[in-house]
């Protein structure tokens, strides 16, 4: 693929949209309610696995699988939140890291259930090839049929996927944007600033935090399932802890506390991340491709450090807000 190929840009758009939904989940938890969730990827993974297992192993229809994925993420949120949300924020940070790692080890080691390190393809055990996204591809194909008149030869299933992803992302932004400006959002802002003071005026702080955790988990679940449906075959490696870190980068890049900057941060991050793939010019060609893969991660990191050094408030953020208290 090269940079002038529209198929590449469709891929970037889809990935950026999935990352937007993922980062929106973290936005609700971290930017809105002040909850440090360092295991966001676990909500994505749990949902993806629940969906794939229900469909591939139990032969249930995909919508049931998706529902199962959402339920699994909510259960994980409750398991993490009930013990940790009553305590100080740092306990939630630890609980989410632990929860995330537990999910990953279970996915790796419960081979009978998850297919282990080979991933979703091994869901039916050795010697059989498991798939779970057949009906999704049919669905995308159907949409693509209606896109043909508009997009011509690019009215393809992957274009359909990009559109579905972004329709969902914008709907989620719209709902959250409205909620943020409602009395509900005002209580969340209070909790982010000083949860003791919010309790003192008679609001159930733990209840509000649980809502934020669950809403964030649901958005994480949707992004995790979309990622699985996009790549078709996934393994625990597709849900590395670094993905949680990407979600934080996206929020920071866009500028915290501003919901419309989440999609911008996500697109920027996706461009940075996939764009560095094209660094095959001299003198970088002196490195072999394996070395270039690491170089790419290094460059992404370097760019982000420089960005934060010169614009710590993000693209849209207000510098005053992060400097004063």
């Amino acid at each position: 693929m090269d940079i002038f190929n529209p198929v590449f840009w469709i891929f970037v758009a889809t990935t950026g949209g999935i990352y937007t939904i993922m980062a929106l989940g973290l936005y609700v938890q971290f930017s809105l309610a002040g909850l440090p969730n360092f295991g966001h990827v676990a909500f994505m993974a749990v949902a993806a696995y629940a969906m794939a297992i229900l469909v591939a192993r139990y032969g249930l229809p995909l919508p049931v699988g998706i529902l199962g994925g959402l339920v699994a993420a909510v259960i994980l949120a409750i398991l993490v939140g009930v013990p940790a949300l009553r305590l100080r924020a740092d306990y939630l940070a630890i609980a989410t890291v632990a929860g995330g790692e537990i999910v990953r080890y279970l996915a790796m080691n419960l081979q009978g259930l998850t297919g282990g390190p080979i991933g979703s393809i091994g869901l039916l055990g050795p010697g059989k090839i498991a798939t779970f996204n057949g009906s999704w591809q049919v669905f995308m194909g159907d949409i693509a049929f209606y896109l043909k008149p508009i997009f011509g030869k690019y009215g393809r299933p992957d274009t359909a996927m990009a559109i579905v992803v972004w329709v969902f992302a914008f709907a989620a932004i719209l709902v959250l944007w409205r909620m943020e400006r409602s009395p509900w959002g005002r209580v969340m802002q209070g909790i982010r600033e000083d949860d003791t003071a919010v309790a003192a005026i008679g609001k159930n702080v733990v209840g509000f935090k649980m809502q934020a955790l669950i809403i964030g988990a649901l958005l994480g679940a949707v992004s995790g399932m979309l990622l699985a449906l996009q790549i078709g075959v996934f393994s625990p490696d597709d849900y590395q802890p670094t993905i949680t870190f990407y979600a934080y980068l996206i929020i920071i890049l866009g500028g915290m506390n501003r919901i419309w900057s989440v999609p911008v941060g996500a697109i920027l991050f996706t461009l940075l991340y996939t764009g560095t793939r094209f660094l095959n010019v001299y003198p970088l060609t002196l490195f072999d491709s394996g070395e270039r893969a690491y170089l790419r991660l290094f460059l992404v990191g370097l760019l982000l450090v420089l960005f934060l050094a010169f614009r710590p408030q993000g693209i849209f953020g207000d510098r005053r807000q992060i400097l004063e208290k």
Binding site: P183, R186, D194, T196, A199, I201, G202
Partner: protein
């Protein structure tokens, strides 16, 4: 009795901050809680308001046992506290600081802003009117749209008092409301506290170090020392009490403790 505290105890590791304190607060009274620094007054407030759980003892507010309830539930029952160091929401405007504290806003349920926009905005208008009245009362109207972070310490205390009143309490707990407040604002604050009792019938329990002030506004004074209640009675009786004089008034010779 609106509040009945019986034998409450709280230890932090080896430090027994409150050891078997008992006291009552009569409905409609202004009661002062005094005592030297470290006597356990703030801890007693934390216990009464549900922000800490007593190791022993019982607390009854408005006919209900509350020692096992959480802080927000106690506040909902009508017992609202104001903190020793003002805890206003600095990133919100002065007005928003009051709006957030109002009760019965259906829009605080997730999704309600979509599902019942009419009810939410109707209640929002009522709340706003109420908030504007409270701001006028504490003379912060000129700062309505200012960020609360820009307020002085004294103004923050006034704002926090106004915010507590938005919860429509039966009783408020004030922890050293005068500390760090400019004298002019302090006098204003005292006037408000008296008015609260007179006009709104709100019961006040106040921790205060200024003895003259305590004696002038309170109907009753409770004295704590080393985690215990050592005296309890009308202001003039307290001023004459030997134990109080040696434990507190004498030791600090009239100055603020």
């Amino acid at each position: 009795m609106l509040l009945k505290v019986d034998g409450i105890t709280k230890a932090f590791g080896g430090v027994k901050a409150v050891q078997g304190a008992s006291f009552d607060v009569k409905e409609g009274s202004i009661t002062a809680l005094i005592g030297p620094n470290g006597a356990g007054k703030t801890t007693a407030f934390n216990l009464v308001s549900g922000f800490m759980r007593p190791d022993e003892g019982t607390i009854q507010f408005d006919g209900r046992r509350t020692e096992r309830l959480s802080g927000h539930t106690v506040a909902r029952h009508g017992l609202v506290r104001v903190f020793q160091t003002a805890r206003v929401f600095t990133q919100m405007t002065v007005l928003e600081n009051l709006l957030i504290a109002a009760r019965h806003q259906p829009g605080e349920k997730f999704g309600a802003a979509w599902l019942m926009p009419g009810r939410t905005s109707r209640r929002e208008r009522e709340i706003r009117r109420e908030a504007e009245e409270r701001l006028a009362l504490v003379r912060l109207t000129h700062l309505t749209h200012e960020r609360a972070g820009a307020l002085s310490g004294g103004q923050r205390k006034l704002l926090e008092l106004a915010r507590a009143l938005m919860v429509q309490p039966k009783m408020i707990l004030l922890d050293e409301p005068m500390a760090g407040v400019a004298p002019v604002l302090g006098e204003q604050l005292m006037e408000h506290i008296k008015e609260l009792r007179e006009k709104a019938g709100i019961t006040v329990l106040i921790i205060e170090h200024d003895i003259d002030l305590v004696m002038s506004i309170s109907d009753r004074v409770i004295v704590m020392d080393e985690g215990r209640v050592i005296a309890d009675g009308p202001p003039d009786a307290i001023q004459a009490n030997e134990r109080v004089i040696t434990a507190y008034l004498g030791r600090n010779a009239g100055a603020a403790a």
